[in-house]
Amino acid sequence: MENLLNQGVGLALFGMVTVFSFLTLLILATRLMSFLVSQIDSEEESVLVDEDSLPDSSPPIAVIAAAVTYYLSKKQS
C-alpha cells in the first residue's frame, strides 16, 4: 500500500513535469518553425498548393535512392 502511494506520487510528479517540459519544448519548436517559415516566405512567394504545377525537372524521388545507397554503403563499410 505504501508502495502504491509512492508509485502514485512519483508518477504524478513525473507526469506533470513531462507534460510541462513537452509543451515548453513545443512552444520553442513552434516559434522556431514560425520564424523559419516567415524567413522563407519573405524571400519567395508561398510555395504551397499551386494547382497547375507539374512536377519540376529534378525529380526528388532520386533522393530516396540516394538515401538508401548512402545508408547501405555506410553499413557495409
Binding site: G8, F20, F22, L25, I27, A29, T30, S34, V47
Partner: protein, 376 residues
Amino acid sequence: MNQLWTFWQSTGLYLLTLDQLIMILIGLLLLYLAIIKQFEPLLLIPIGFGGILSNIPGVDIAVGNGVLAQFSAMGLDTGIFPLLVFMGIGAMTDFGPLLANPKTMLLGAAAQFGIFSTLLGAIAMNEIGMFDFSLAQAAAIGIIGGADGPTAIYVSSVLAPELLGAIAVAAYSYMALVPLIQPPIMRALTSRRERKIRMRSIREVSQTEKVLFPLVLLLLVALIVPGAAPLLGMFCFGNLMKECRVVARLSDTAQNALINTATIFLGLSVGSKLVAEEFLVGETLGILGLGIVAFGIGTMTGVLMAKLMNLFSKNKINPLIGAAGVSAVPMAARVANKVGIESDPDNFLIMHAMGPNVAGVIGSTIAAGVLIQFAA
C-alpha cells in the same frame, strides 16, 4: 400449457433482474441528458442506447456473439474506434489560434494537473480503505481530468477495461457539465479587473505554418513521449489531411462519414460495458466523485497558471482563458468567452481561448502517453 410456461420463462418480465432494471433506467437517464439537456449527445445517445440493449435479459447482445460484443471486440478492445474518432477531430481542429500565440500552450499544460491530482485522489481513497484501485486503474480514472472523450476511452481500454463504462460516462457527463462546473471556480480565482483584461488581436497564421505544425508536433512526440504517438499520430494525421489542402476528399470523409461511423460504433461499444456487474459497484461512485474534482482542479490550475504568467509578461493574458486549458473542446472556450462577457460585454475571448483549448488536447494526450508507458 407447458409451452406457455416455457414462453413465460423466456420473457424479459420473468428474467429481468433488479440490476438490469437499474441499468436500463440509467441508460434512459443518459438518453434524457443527451436529448433534453443536450449533454454531449453524439456520444451519450449511442452509449445510453447501447447500455439499454446490453441489459436486456435472455438474449446475447453485449456478450458472446452479440452484435455489441462484436463491435466492442472489433474496435474498442483494439483501440481502433477511439483512434478513428481522434483522427476525425484532428481533421476538424484549427491550430491557428494556438500558432498565433504559442505561449498559451502553458495553460493547456497547467490544466493537466487535474489528471494527476485525480490519480493521487484515487490512491488516497485506497489509503483510507474505501477502494482497492491498482496504479493502472488510478491512472485511468485520472484521465477523466483530461476532459477529452476519445483519450479517456483509449486510455481506459488499455489500462483498466473493467472501469471503461464508468470512466466514459463520467468523462462525457462532466464535459457536458463544464458550463456549470467552471464558472464559479473561474470567478472565485479572478478579480473583476483581471476578467476585464483585453488581449491583443491574434496575428494571421500562414498556411505553411499550419501544414508544418502537425509534423513538428508528431516528431517531438516521437522523440520524447513515444507512448503518446498512436493517439497524437492519428490526430496529427487528420490535421495534416485538412491543412495540406491537396486531399480534400479524404479530409472530408475523415470529418464526416468516417468519424460519424466510428462514433456510432464507439458509443454502442462503450454502452456494451454498462452491464450491471461492472457498473453497479462502489468504484463507480468513487469515479464519479473523483471526476468532478478532476475538472475542478484542472480549471483552477489553468486559471492560476495564467495569473502566474502575467507576473512575468507584459502582454497580459486574461486568466479566464486558462480554464479552457482543460480541453472539453469547444465548450470550455465558450464558457471562458461567456464569463468574460459578464464583466465586459465587448470583450470576446473565444478566439484567444481556442489556443489553450486545443493545447489542452495535446496536453492530455501527452499525459495519456506517460500513463500508458509507466502505469501499464
